[in-house]
C-alpha cells in the first residue's frame, strides 16, 4: 500500500464548476501537506501548503486537512480552462525532512 493515495481520474468538469480533489494517507506523522499543479510537459509547481489540520484559502483555491481521517482536499471554485492540469498532493513529516511523499496525481480538464 502506498503511503499517499490519490484518485488518478481523469476528471472533466464544465467551466465555472467547483472541483474537489482528494488524497488519503496512512502515516499519521505527516504534518505538512502540499498541493502541486503540473501542466502538460512541465514540472510541478507548488500551489498551496498547509501545516497540520485546518483550512487555507488562496483566491479560488482552498486546501483542507482532516488529520483525524487522514484525508486532504483541494477545492477549486469557479474553475477555468487554465486550471486544466494534473494536481499532485505531497506530504512531509514533522520536523520536515528531505523526503516528500507524493500522490499519483489527478488529471483535471475544465471544458469551456
Amino acid at each position: 500500500q502506498k503511503e499517499v493515495e490519490q484518485d488518478p481520474g481523469p476528471l472533466s468538469v464544465p467551466e465555472g464548476a467547483i472541483v474537489s480533489l482528494n488524497c488519503t494517507y496512512s502515516n499519521s506523522a505527516f504534518q505538512y501537506f502540499m498541493w502541486y499543479r503540473q501542466y502538460s510537459r512541465k514540472g510541478p509547481e507548488l500551489l498551496m501548503y498547509t501545516y497540520s489540520s485546518g483550512n487555507k484559502e488562496d483566491g479560488r483555491f482552498t486546501a483542507q486537512v482532516d488529520k483525524s481521517s487522514k484525508y486532504i482536499s483541494l477545492f477549486i471554485r469557479d474553475s477555468q480552462p487554465s486550471d486544466s492540469a494534473t494536481y499532485l498532493c505531497a506530504m512531509n513529516l514533522e520536523p520536515p525532512g528531505n523526503q516528500f511523499y507524493f500522490g499519483t496525481g489527478t488529471s483535471l480538464t475544465v471544458i469551456p
Binding site: P8, Y49, L88, P96, N98, G105
Partner: protein
C-alpha cells in the same frame, strides 16, 4: 533567470548507452533532488543531496549515479540504459534548514523526457 534548469529537455537513445542529465538551481538552496515520473504521473524520489552530500538514496539500480560538483548543481549519470528507464526525470531543490518558505516547498525543473529504444 530560470530557478531550476535541466538539460537536455529531450533525450532519445538506444539500450546499452550511457547518458547524463544536468541540473542547476540559482535559488541558493541547500538541497537538491532527482525524481522519476512514470507514464502514470507517479513521482518517485531517487536521490537527495544536501550541500553536496548524499542524504537520500532510494532503491534505484546502481546504474544511476548522481554527482554534485557544488551545491547549485546535481547531475544524473545513467549507465547501460534499459527500456524501463524511459520516463521523465525531474530535478528539484528546496531550502534547508527552513527559511521563510519552509523546507516543505520544492521547486522543480522542467523535466527531461528520456526515451530508450
Amino acid at each position: 533567470d530560470t530557478a531550476v534548469s535541466q538539460t537536455p529537455k529531450y533525450l532519445v537513445t538506444q539500450m546499452g548507452n550511457d547518458k547524463s542529465i544536468k541540473c542547476e538551481q540559482n535559488l541558493g538552496h541547500d538541497t537538491m533532488y532527482w525524481y522519476k515520473q512514470d507514464s502514470k504521473k507517479f513521482l518517485k524520489i531517487m536521490f537527495s543531496y544536501n550541500n553536496k552530500e548524499l542524504i537520500i538514496n532510494e532503491t534505484v539500480p546502481n546504474r544511476f549515479s548522481p554527482k554534485s560538483p557544488d551545491k547549485a548543481h546535481l547531475n544524473l549519470h545513467i549507465n547501460s540504459l534499459e527500456l524501463g528507464d524511459s520516463a521523465v526525470y525531474f530535478c528539484a531543490s528546496s531550502q534547508d534548514p527552513p527559511g521563510t518558505s519552509g523546507a516543505y516547498e520544492q521547486y522543480f525543473g522542467p523535466g527531461t523526457r528520456l526515451t530508450v529504444t
